[in-house]
Each structure stands twice: as structure tokens, then as C-alpha cells.
Amino acid sequence: MTAGRCTAALLAAVLVCGLTCASTAAAEEAITEEYESISNANEHVQAQDDYARSQKRREITEHDDDQNEPPPSSSSSSSSSSSSSSSPPSKDYFKEELVIRPLSSGDIYASFQFQTRWDTDFFAPGKKVSHYRLFPKSLGQLMSKFSVREMHVSFTQGYWRTMQWGQPFLPAPPGAELWVWFQDSVADVDGAWKELTNVLSGIFCASLNFIDSTNTVEPTASFKPLGVGNVTHQRFLRYAVLPREIVCTENLTPWKKLLPCGSKAGLAVLMKSEKLFHSSFLSLAVHIRPVCQDWGCKGTAWELRQTVNVVFDLHTTGQGKREWSFFKMFSRTLTEACPLATSSKVYIDVTDNPQGELFELNPAAPSLTQAVVLGDRRTYAVYDLMASGTFGLLRSLNVLLRWKTPGSVDMLRPLLHGERYVAGYGLQTGEIHTLIYNNHPYRAFPVLLLDIVPWYLRLYIHTLTVTSKSRENKPSYIHYQPSKDRLRPHLLEMLIQLPPNSVTEVTVQFERALLKWTEYTPDPNHGFYVGSSVISALVPSVVAMDTSYTLEHPLFSTFFPCKEESSYFVRVYTEPLLVNLPTPDFSMPYNVICLTCTVVAVGYGSLYNLLTRTFQVEEPSPGVVKRLANMIRYLRGVPLL
């Protein structure tokens, strides 16, 4: 009886799925056509809105369909019936994980990573990818339309405090950051970049459309591709930061809709905006890159990583008590894994707590695992959400960390750390100071420093000084692209060798420009933001890094490719700067135009006067009566008086 009902349900599901897929495929084609025709007419804004809206609608229906389907491993019939093509279906899978790291400051760091991998090629000649299953279609179409090879976008609220919290798994600067590597087949990279930012702005409901040539740069060395591929000329790279971007629910919602399960199941149910935005640091990111399909790297697969990094504050969220639970952090508990996921895990960093003397975990972790991450071997308690035993009798998982001792954990100082500030007073000139700390006791290592300064702070590169341990430290490589007014920013890239256990200070002077009154932001006296400096480095590792590809790693340890055992890659973002500029009086345009024109007219008038008139002896003008009499005499024809 039950078996019969099951098959009937399965049949119905397959039928429904096939129908909806056919109809949505037609709709999707219509949308694509419409979108292309609009975008060809260069109406970015309109296009991006329509596109994003229709895409979002499409996503929802698609994911709902997906949820009706059984997981891919159990059934291949549904995928083959819906793909309706003769080629074998390309393999895709979805993994989700959550890492929780108690920070020495008492705060807690939660890092979500969702990986969607798809063994397909968007750019294979003669083949148009039109069927999407787990991979979000809006991003897939974006990739193929703009020939994007690699795309990294992040939206961050708050500043990551490296000295208190250590290194994050995925660094991101405050505000919005976008960097894209285009395929080498793209001829007009700037045009593609402009359109891409507008479309992304629609997809994520963010102000990415404010990215233009005045804040876009092509770094030569700091942002190398993270995926496979051999194009490394910076001609195909575009990098932009919007330090002023405010991240809010409207960015989180479209972000969540890119997930196969949306926010309906799996780890994503924890992402409730009222809790996530009530935190010290929140960073949403989407990374797309080509990766190897297998260990031999015979074909490329596309990897989409969606990440959320959040730091909950001990005092505001935790009410001062060092006691954290899923419910306290997210006001939700976990009840199931995402049915579409092949792996769904929760990791809790228990390295400082091997015997449970610092804090206790409740429920106790079913297993422990070790991973080498950021140059350190860490131990993690693992809760596998795919295992049925994890959820216990209550059918929900609410991991509780309770500290036994109020004392804080000693944190190893991060080996690399950066700070930045503006020195000087007044609104005429100033000096940018960047401090880079190498806390390694005996190893020197080189770092790449990337500075992007808007054109209205005119840098004087001859004032650049780099000092370490009060001695001049000449950079071995400097790439400086001066700014063009209203066209492009300053780009300064340097390779600096940091001596062991030292602070390296980089200073450069600038001059503040007076802008046109229409170029100021609506709150000009708030100041202008300058994006974070980016410090990229290969930091000497304490333990041997894992460079083998044969083992299954947790997602958080595999973002930056690791090529050698002795060092690991770190990117550190410094604080963004807030710089005041001199302002004109915004209420005065008419007055100024009138007054200046008056002065010019005084000059013109006095010269005109002297040029056109001649000197004459002033004769006293006759009185009124005499003039009247003369007029009558003139009419009478008698001689005048």
C-alpha cells in the first residue's frame, strides 16, 4: 500500500517537474532575449531591475521544484528526464558547513560556507548551458554573458579586528568589494565590467552601480586568480571597493535566494537578519571560480562559494555571559540538513579545550577532526547533520558552549597585521600612515601592499617613505599609477620585505582638492571614505601546510590555494579612512556667479569706458527754462539763445 503511494507520488513529482521545467525554459528564453535586447540598448539600470526581478522569481520556482525532487544521489531519473538532452547530465553537488570559533575576547565567530560545484563548462564552444539545477541561474547566465572567469564580491558591515580576533577564514574589507577576472576572449573589458557591475547591483540590491572608472583599478600583483587557468595579465582584472556601502537585509535576502534550499532548510535557517545584523562584524560574500574537476585536473568545474562571516559581541548579543548557543546567536536551532546537500556539517573549534577544561559542549560532539588552517593545526568538534543521530530525541540541534572559567584564552598574536590612519591637521594637506606588523619572532617575509586612493586626495609619490626599525626599507617593487582628475584613482602597489618582529611604516603625503559643488556627497562634512589598503602575503607557517589534494578537507581550509608546505596565504585589510575635504558654501551658487561676474564686469566696464570715450571739457548744462525756450525757438526757426 505504502509502496504504491510512493511510486505514485514519485511519478507525479516527475511529471510536475518536467512540465514546470518545460514552461520555465520557454519563459527563461523569453527573459534572456528581452534582457539581451534591452542591454544592447545600453539601458543598464532598467535591464538590471527587470533581470534581477525575473531572475529572483525564477530562482524561487526553480528551488521549489528542486525541493520536490529527491536528492541527486538517490535518483537519476528526474535529472535525466528534465535535462531533455542526449548528453550525460553534468555532475553537480552542494556542501554546506558552519564553523564556530570562540574568540579570546569572549566574542564568538561563526562562519558559514556553502559550496556548489558543477562539472560543466560555460564557455565550451557550440554549447549553451541552459539547464540549471543547483547552481543559481542568475549567476550562471551572468558568467556566460560577460565571459567572467572568476568573480569575488563581498558586502561587509564592521571591521575585522585582527589583533583581537586573529585571522578570519575569509578576509573582506568594510563596505562592498568586487573583483573580477574576465576571460581572455573579452575585447572590451571596461564595457563588460560596467555592465556586470550594474547587473550585480540589481541581483544583490546593492550600490555596485556606483563603481565606475574613478574607483576601479587593475592591480598588477595583489589579486591573482584563485582558480585554475593561466591568464594572469592584469588587463583582464578589475578591482573596486565601495567603502561607504551599508550592508543590510536587502542584501542578505537575494544572497539567501541563491542557495539551493533558500533559507528554508539546512544551515541557512540560522540566518535571520534580526540577529545577523545585531553583531560586531558581518560579511556576506559570493565567490565563483573555476576549479579542477578531479585530482588529475583533466577538466574544470565551476565552484560557487557563498559565505557569511559573523562575529557576535560578548556584551550586546551575549549579555556579558560567556555562554553561547545556536538559539542565543541565531534565535533558531537546526532541525535538518538541506536535502540537496551532499555534506552538511557544523565544526566547533576546540583546539584550546582538548580535555574540556575551558568550556563544555552540549550535546557532546560525536567526533573530532583536525585541520591545518592559517598556518596552525586546529582541532574541531564535528556535528554531521546528515547523520540522523545528531538531532537527538528533540529533532533539533542546539549546540551550547558554556565556559567553566571566566578567564580568557590567550590568543597567539597574528603574525601579520596592518593599521592605517591619516595624520596632519587642517584641510589643505595630510599624510597617510600605514603600519604593517610582522610579529614573527625570527622570520622575515615579503608583503604586497595595495593602496587605492581617490583622485581628490592628490598623492605626492616623491614623499613616499618606508621605514622599518627606524631605517629606510626600500620597496623592491613599486607600481604607481597616478590619478587623473575625475577619471581614475591613484594605484600604489609595493613589495616590501618585513624584517622579523618589526613594524614597517609607510607614509605618503597628499593634498586635498576642492571639488565642484555637485561632486560632493549629500553630507560633505561627514568626509570622504578611502578604501582599505590590502596587504597580501605568504606568511611562514608554524606547522606544515597540507598541500595534498587527495584528502577531503573542510571547506574553510581550502579557499586560498596552498602550493607549498612552509607558508600560507593571508590577506589583511586595514581600516578604511575618512578624510575631510574643504567645501565651498553650497547655498551660494547664484551669489558667487553674480559677484564674480560683477567683478569681471567692473574690469570690462572700466576698460571699455576708457577705450571708447574721449576727454572733453565739461560745459555746464543749461537750465530747464533755457532748454525749454531753446526748444520753442527751434520750432519757431529763430536762432537759439
Binding site: 605626492y460 616623491h462 597616478p482 556667479i593 574690469g603 574721449t614 572733453q616 571739457v617 565739461e618 560745459e619
Partner: protein
């Protein structure tokens, strides 16, 4: 006569040398009244630094000097102080010699006129005597070298001093009658900052006058000489521009120097009229007003040349003054050049109407510039309008000064032909008016 000049030079150099080594030199280099984006020393150094980094100095929007300047300082960067002192010395000596020669010409003409009995008899008190003219060249040198504006400009190493030297050499070679050198220096001055282009007319008039060629459009000799001078001028301009091209092998300097002067993209405050006007300008009127303001500088050349065709040296003075008032990035160094000519017109003093007022305005403004700048930029207790108001007043003062000298000059000429004590028809004492 050489001894007092040497003394003045020594005093001037000493003052500059002392200031160069004092703590005043550093803040002066940042003063917006003294340096503009066009001629700031900091930007010259930046251009050289960019060259050292392997980038074109014109790839950014900081450096706006001509390639010849960068070539010059590529070699003498370590002796920049001396170069600027020498430039000031050259300007002073050139003006000294030029004025000396000019005075001789004036005196000779006056003698001929007296002998021909062309002056009315009551004009004897307008006749200039050799005694009062004797010290004028020295006063000119003194006015240039010891003018605080020149000193500040030199100590701030504003390349305006070099432009002044080129213009002074142009004046000297014109007055000495060397058409070729005059054309070369005029081309060099034009190459440096476009605006001296308007000095072409007075130079041509002076040279024609010197060769006794009347300004008559029906005379081939007039056209022949005009063509000759124009070809020399354009030829040397062409040579200089091509030379600049070969120095850096790119034409980037044309938009970066001349485009920058003409389109005024940098709104850094200065003592001129452009910066605040274009900071507050409505975007769609911007181009129109840029055209109006730039034409305004060149516009006066033709009517002034017609009115003053008998007095080309006064015309040169007028043109330099107009340029320094209405140019897009003026500095006090530009003002000091035309101020050096004021002693030459000391005989006009009796006809000046508001010299006292103008002097007070100029002095008060010069003192108020740094005060209001400090209040706006550092103290934050004033806003940009305060500084703007002072630049307006300063420019009104300059305009009044120049038009007053123009008035006095015209009036003196009128008296020299019509007599000093004019009578009305009824025999009572008359007053002169412009009609």
C-alpha cells in the same frame, strides 16, 4: 649706475638666501597665494619622481609644467635655489636695461616734440626732466627684487619666476630692437603659459615704430614686417613645441599643460577669479563661462592696441596686468611683474584718482589672505566665502589700479595736445570728463 644695481642685487640675493635657509621656506611652498597647481615646486619634484619611476610625468594630473622645465630641472634639481635667485636677478637686470633704453627713447621723442614746438605752452610742468628719469631704471629693479610678492614667490620656488624672466627678456629684446630675439622669447613665454600670446601686438607695434614703419594696412612694408615677425614667432614656437615632443616623445604635454590652463579642472583656491566661480558653477553652463572667462583675457588686445598704438610699452604693461588679473591660475609672482613697471609711470602720479584707496585695499587684502585662509582651512571658524570675498576685493583693487593708470596715461596725453589748464567757452576753469 651699475654700482647701485649691484648693491640692490646683493641685498635681494641675501634676503632670499636667508629666507631659503629659514623655516619660512617650507610653509611658503604650500601657500595657495604664492604657488598654483601650474607652478608649484612640489609638483615639479613630483614630475621628476614620476620620471624616475619610469612613468610619464603627464600620466597623472599633478604635473603641469612644460617638458623644457622638467628637462631644465632634471639637471639642476640640486641647485634649484640658485636657479630661482638667478631668474629673479635676470628679470631685474633685463627690466633695468629695458627701462633705461625706453627712457632714452622717450626723452629723445620729447626733445624733438619740444624743438618742433608741438606741446602747448602751459604743459611745461608735464615735461619730464632727465633728473627725475635718472633713477627710474633702478627703481624698477628695486620694485621687482624687493617686492615681498617676488621674494615669497622665489622662496617658494614657484616657476612663475622663470616665466617672469622670459617675459622680461622678451621686453628687453623688443626694446633693444632685436626682432628675432623678441620673437624667440615671446614664443618661449607663450609656450610656458599661453597668455603672453597677447604680447605679440605691442611687440609688433614697438618694432614697427622703431623702424619708422607706419601702421597702415595699405602699405606693403607694414605687411612685410608683420609677416616676418609672425613667421619668426610661429617658427620658434613650432621648434620649441617639437623639441618638447622629442624630449619625452609624446604629445601628452599638450592637454596636460594647455588643456589644463584653458579648461580649469583644478579648483584649488588661489587669488584669482576662476576657482570659486567654477566650483559653484552649474554644470551645463560651465563650458559657456569657461569660454567667456578665457576670451575675456585675450579680448582686450585689439581695442587696447588700437587705442595705444603710439605707446607700445604702456600697452605691454596693460597686457601683463590684464593677464595677471584674469588668468586662470594667477599667483602673486605674476602681480609683481607688472608692479615693477609702476615706477616707469611715476610721472602719471598727479592724474591718478584713487591710488590711496587702491594701495590700502591691496595692503589690507595681502594681510587678510593668510588670516582668512587660516580661519577657513585650519581653525574651521570661517568658510570658503571669507577667502573668496578677499580674492574678489583684491581683484577689484587690481582692476582699479590698472584702469587708474590707463586713465592717467590717456589724460596726460590729452593734456599734452590740448594744454594743461583748459578753459570753458566762457573763460572759467574747466573740468575734463570722459564722454
Amino acid at each position: 649706475m651699475a654700482a647701485p644695481l649691484t648693491l640692490v642685487l646683493i641685498v635681494a640675493v641675501t634676503i632670499r638666501a636667508v629666507l631659503f635657509s629659514s623655516s619660512l621656506a617650507e610653509p611658503l611652498m604650500e601657500r595657495v597665494e604664492v604657488v598654483s597647481p601650474l607652478n608649484a615646486w612640489k609638483r615639479v619634484v613630483e614630475g621628476l619622481a614620476l620620471l624616475d619611476l619610469g612613468a610619464s610625468p603627464y600620466s597623472g594630473d599633478v604635473f603641469h609644467e612644460t617638458p623644457l622645465i622638467i628637462y631644465l630641472f632634471h639637471f639642476v634639481i640640486d641647485y634649484a635655489d640658485i636657479v630661482f635667485m638667478i631668474a629673479d636677478g635676470i628679470t631685474a637686470v633685463a627690466l633695468y636695461l629695458a627701462v633705461q633704453d625706453y627712457n632714452k627713447t622717450v626723452f629723445r621723442k620729447q626733445k624733438y616734440a619740444l624743438e618742433a614746438d608741438r606741446y602747448p605752452h602751459d604743459c611745461l610742468e608735464l615735461i619730464r626732466t632727465p633728473k627725475e628719469m635718472y633713477y627710474i631704471p633702478l627703481k624698477v629693479a628695486l620694485f621687482y627684487l624687493l617686492n615681498p610678492f617676488t621674494i615669497f614667490s622665489c622662496v617658494a620656488k614657484s616657476t612663475c619666476g622663470l616665466n617672469n624672466a622670459v617675459i622680461a627678456l622678451f621686453i628687453l629684446s623688443t626694446i633693444k630692437g632685436s626682432a628675432f630675439l623678441s620673437a624667440v622669447f615671446l614664443a618661449l613665454a607663450t609656450y610656458q603659459s599661453i597668455y603672453p600670446l597677447t604680447l605679440f601686438a605691442p611687440a609688433l607695434l614697438f618694432l614697427l615704430q622703431r623702424l619708422y614703419i607706419p601702421v597702415n594696412f595699405y602699405r606693403p612694408s607694414f605687411w612685410l614686417f608683420t609677416l616676418q615677425y609672425a613667421v619668426m614667432y610661429l617658427g620658434s614656437l613650432c621648434v620649441i613645441v617639437c623639441l618638447s615632443f622629442f624630449l619625452l616623445s609624446s604629445w601628452d604635454f599638450i592637454p596636460s599643460v594647455y588643456g589644463f590652463i584653458l579648461s580649469v579642472p583644478d579648483l584649488t583656491p588661489n587669488i584669482g577669479l576662476f576657482w570659486y566661480f567654477f566650483a559653484e558653477m552649474f554644470e551645463h553652463f560651465r563650458f559657456f563661462f569657461i569660454c567667456v572667462f578665457q576670451i575675456n583675457v585675450f579680448f582686450y588686445t585689439i581695442p587696447l592696441s588700437i587705442k595705444l598704438k603710439e605707446h607700445p610699452v604702456f600697452l605691454i604693461f596693460m597686457q601683463i596686468a590684464i593677464i595677471s588679473i584674469f588668468k586662470s591660475y594667477p599667483t602673486v609672482g605674476d602681480i609683481s611683474l607688472y608692479m615693477a613697471f609702476l615706477p616707469v609711470w611715476s610721472h602719471l602720479y598727479r592724474f591718478l584718482r584713487n591710488i590711496f584707496l587702491v594701495s590700502c585695499v591691496m595692503l589690507a587684502c595681502s594681510a587678510l589672505f593668510p588670516v582668512l585662509w587660516h580661519l577657513w582651512i585650519y581653525a574651521g571658524s570661517a568658510n570658503s566665502n571669507f577667502y573668496y570675498a578677499i580674492t574678489l576685493l583684491f581683484n577689484v583693487g587690481q582692476i582699479l589700479l590698472v584702469s587708474d593708470y590707463f586713465y592717467a596715461f590717456l589724460r596726460r596725453e590729452h593734456h599734452l595736445t590740448h594744454g594743461l589748464y583748459l578753459k570753458r567757452k566762457d573763460g572759467s576753469e574747466a573740468t575734463l570728463v570722459l564722454k
